[in-house]
């Protein structure tokens, strides 16, 4: 009886861990979206909101870490439950870094405002869209425990990387064309880099999900 109750309690703890993780996921997704909108609309107020939101994400990550470690230490879970907690740890870590990249985009947006407007390239917008869809899909795959969707995330990563390369080329041509565009172009380069990293992190999370569901690692393949 007691072990039954302990198990139920443990599963409630797991649920609440997942609850917190999704709160963090939702917040991170929103912060990234606001960061991209701020960049495209050159909206400084939104950029400031992104920069301010980072603390909340960091706090959530710390909280999740603590809770996950506590569960690991006190319950010594096995097999699936163990993988679930480990996945939570890794995904929260990835999300925190996505948040950091959103903040980087926010800062870049602030600095871009001081320069004559360089139109945000459609390639960058496209990258942002892909990165956001990847993040959303990776998280949806995690919630749905859907390895098929997770693998689709990984396939999309190649598109983002290709887009980053062409952004790179385009920005260089902008810089060559007009030296006054060098600074804003460099900022956009940072943005592109951050977006690519977001794509990578989303891929990481998707791979984590595949590991969680199938117990099989598809990383580095």
């Amino acid at each position: 009886m007691t072990s039954d109750r302990a198990r139920r309690h443990f599963h409630e703890e797991l649920d609440s861990l997942q609850n917190r993780l999704l709160e963090m996921a939702g917040l991170t997704e929103e912060v990234l979206r606001v960061a991209v909108d701020a960049l495209i609309q050159r909206n400084l107020e939104m950029a400031d909101r992104v920069i301010a939101a980072d603390d909340a994400i960091d706090r959530l990550e710390l909280e999740l870490d603590e809770k996950a470690l506590e569960l690991l230490a006190l319950q010594q879970p096995m097999a699936v439950d163990l993988r679930r907690i480990i996945s939570t740890l890794k995904i929260s870590n990835d999300l925190e870094r996505v948040g950091d990249h959103a903040v980087k985009i926010g800062h870049a947006t602030r600095r871009l405002a001081d320069h004559p407007p360089l139109p945000v390239l459609p390639e960058v917008e496209e990258m942002a869209r892909h990165a956001m869809v990847m993040l959303a899909d990776a998280l949806a795959a995690y919630v749905k425990r859907d390895p098929v969707l997770a693998r689709a995330v990984r396939d999309r990563d190649a598109r983002v990387n290709a887009l980053r390369r062409s952004t790179h080329r385009l920005l260089i041509s902008h810089m060559l064309e007009d030296p006054r565009r060098i600074t804003p172009a460099l900022e956009l380069l940072i943005v592109a880099q951050s977006l690519e990293r977001v794509g990578d992190l989303a891929t990481n999370m998707a791979e984590e999900l595949v590991f969680l569901v199938e117990g099989q690692t598809i990383k580095h393949h």
Partner: protein, 599 residues
């Protein structure tokens, strides 16, 4: 204690009790009887021994007793009236004179007094229990006593063999008891454990369990019968409940609105299919999982979690790129019922309608403004001839543009109002494309373009409509393809339809814009496209034309590499190839000359 053990223990206790009692009784009876027999025997033996002693007259007493003892096995002693031992078979002759006075022995004393005596006592000489008998005899030197002695253990015989038999019987009894216990308990416990097993499976739920009738033990038959009825009853109810639940789930699943029922601590009680799709939560959601562990959009989370205390009314939330209208109420049993209505299409249509008026006015205004400018210039001054010609030319081209726009608008409105019906005739798709391309070349456009058409097919459709589709698509492709670009048209029969795709090597369309390019006046790049001409209605017209001929239209694009616009048309099937034509196919044939009669 288990039945088997208690049964075995009681058997053993019973058996042990009986054995001990029987053993004691046997032992007692045996010893009484043998003692009596020994005493009688002794009384019989004494005169016989006296007779034998008479026969040995003249021999010295020690020899006499030794011979007598050798023949009978008794210890034989001769004692005279003074108590002096004359001879003792068990004592060496040289020790005889030193033996103590035997008058103190009760049997000797008894014999002197009453002629004969029997005594059972511990032998002073050997220290063992002895039966001693004495007989007074009259000898030449006065009376003396003949004493015979025998150890009790020899005289009585032992109850040992009998007890051994008893023990053997006991052991046999134990073995039998064990066997009986096993057999009996198996007969009881086997049907019981079978019943327990089945009832356990019943309790665990799972599939339906039939409780078997117990045949071997009549006492258990009513129980198994009752259990069987109970199982039938339970599974009947369960089936009923499952059916009701499935009906209910089917009912709420068929609602287009998403519905989630929450417990009062915001756990998911039930949700329908639409909610799963709209919120992107697992298809088979875990029962009673907290709603917060399934939904991650911050705004939606807070609405859902708070809905159990604070219901929302007609709140619009963006989930991904969809707008959901959320309503909730708190039912009588607590918790909350939250409904989601997907209003994305509604909002988009509202937007399209708003945009249409603005866009149409804008599109009409641009050429009008230009024409007005030119006309006023012409009226005001008297410009040189060549300038006047140029102005008039501009006015003419703007008029043409206006006319094209109005024509397109009229086409579109006719298409949208359903006033136009596509004819159904056989159209050579490839030929149509080539013809249109010729038109462009004749206007001096696209000469440097690498243009290729692949594949051939006959489609069912309206020849003019198909020509119009290609005119619009090629126009677009030309507009967005660089000078020495490439345009590829592919005509591919797939199943019962023709797939036509027009691929250019232009700048491509961002994926976010792809679903919207078939909207009226939608411009991918608001700043650029208008300079390149076009009414902004071409693709909208294409979509309507294709769908009125029973096809579909779509677009794929890779930014920087080009765009593919594709559409499908019903394929003309070979005569006699009745095959497994679908409904669309049947409609397609209706106009065909071969089949027009009887449908």
């Amino acid at each position: 204690m288990r039945l088997r053990h208690s049964l075995l223990l009681s058997f053993l206790a019973l058996l042990g009790g009986v054995l001990v009692f029987a053993g004691l009784q046997v032992h007692r009876a045996q010893s009484l009887e043998s003692r009596e027999a020994a005493r009688q025997g002794m009384l019989r033996d004494l005169p016989l021994a006296a007779l034998a002693l008479d026969a040995l007259e003249g021999v010295d007493p020690q020899t006499q007793v030794q011979r007598l003892s050798g023949a009978t096995g008794f210890r034989v002693t001769l004692v005279d009236s003074l108590g002096t031992v004359l001879g003792d078979s068990h004592v060496a002759s040289e020790l005889i004179p030193r033996m103590e006075n035997h008058l103190s022995r009760p049997e000797v004393m008894g014999a002197f007094e009453s002629g004969s005596a029997l005594e059972e006592r511990i032998s002073i000489h050997t220290g063992t229990q002895m039966l001693a008998g004495a007989l007074r005899l009259e000898g030449a030197d006065g009376p003396y006593v003949l004493r015979l002695g025998v150890p009790v253990s020899q005289a009585y015989g032992s109850s040992g063999p009998l007890l051994r038999w008893l023990l053997l019987a006991g052991l046999l009894g134990v073995a039998l008891a064990v066997l009986l216990t096993v057999v009996l308990t198996l007969r009881i416990t086997q049907p019981l454990s079978a019943l327990t097993h089945h009832v356990g499976r019943m309790a665990d739920g799972g599939s339906e369990v039939r409780v078997p009738r117990v045949q071997s033990l009549p006492e258990l038959a009513p129980l198994s019968g009752a259990l069987s009825r109970l199982a039938d009853e339970i599974f009947g109810r369960v089936r009923e409940v499952v059916r009701e639940r499935d009906e209910m789930q089917g009912l709420i699943d068929s609602i287009a609105e998403g519905v989630i029922a929450l417990t009062d601590d915001a756990r998911v009680l039930r949700m329908n299919h639409a909610a799963e799709v709209l919120l992107g939560v697992p298809a088979k959601s875990v029962p009673f999982a907290p709603v917060g562990s399934m939904v991650r959009q911050t705004e939606l989370r807070s609405i859902l979690e708070e809905s159990v205390v604070r219901p929302v009314s007609a709140q619009e939330v963006m989930v991904g790129d969809r707008s959901l209208l959320v309503n909730s109420r708190i039912p009588s049993w607590g918790g909350a019922v939250v409904t989601f209505l997907d209003v994305t299409d509604l909002r988009r249509m509202e937007q399209v309608r708003r945009d249409f008026v603005a866009n149409a006015s804008h599109e009409l205004k641009t050429p009008l403004t230009a024409m007005r400018g030119f006309a006023e210039t012409l009226l005001d001054g008297d410009p040189p001839d060549d300038l006047r010609r140029e102005f008039l030319g501009s006015i003419r081209s703007n008029t043409l543009r206006l006319q094209a726009l109005v024509d397109d608008l009229l086409d579109l409105s006719r298409l949208e109002s359903g006033g136009w019906r596509a004819r159904r005739e056989e159209v050579d798709v490839t030929g149509s494309v080539r013809e249109i391309w010729e038109e462009f070349l004749n206007q001096g456009r696209g000469a440097a373009i690498d243009f290729q058409v692949e594949g051939e097919a006959l489609a069912v459709g309206d020849e003019h409509a198909i020509a119009q589709i290609f005119r619009n698509l090629l126009e677009n492709a030309l507009r967005y393809t660089p000078e020495r670009g490439r345009i590829r048209v592919q005509v591919l029969p797939v199943g019962d339809e023709v797939q036509v795709s027009v691929t250019d090597s232009g700048s491509g369309i961002p994926s976010a814009a792809l679903p919207r390019i078939f909207e009226r006046f939608y411009r991918v790049d608001q700043s650029r496209a208008r300079d390149q001409g076009g009414t902004g209605l071409g693709l909208a017209i294409v979509r309507h034309l294709v769908s009125s001929m029973g096809g579909e239209v779509g677009a794929d694009s890779i930014l920087g590499e080009g765009t593919t616009i594709w559409f499908t048309l019903p394929l003309v099937l070979e005569v006699g190839d009745e095959g497994d034509g679908g409904r669309e196919d049947d409609e397609g044939r209706e106009g065909d000359e071969q089949h027009s009669g009887n449908r």
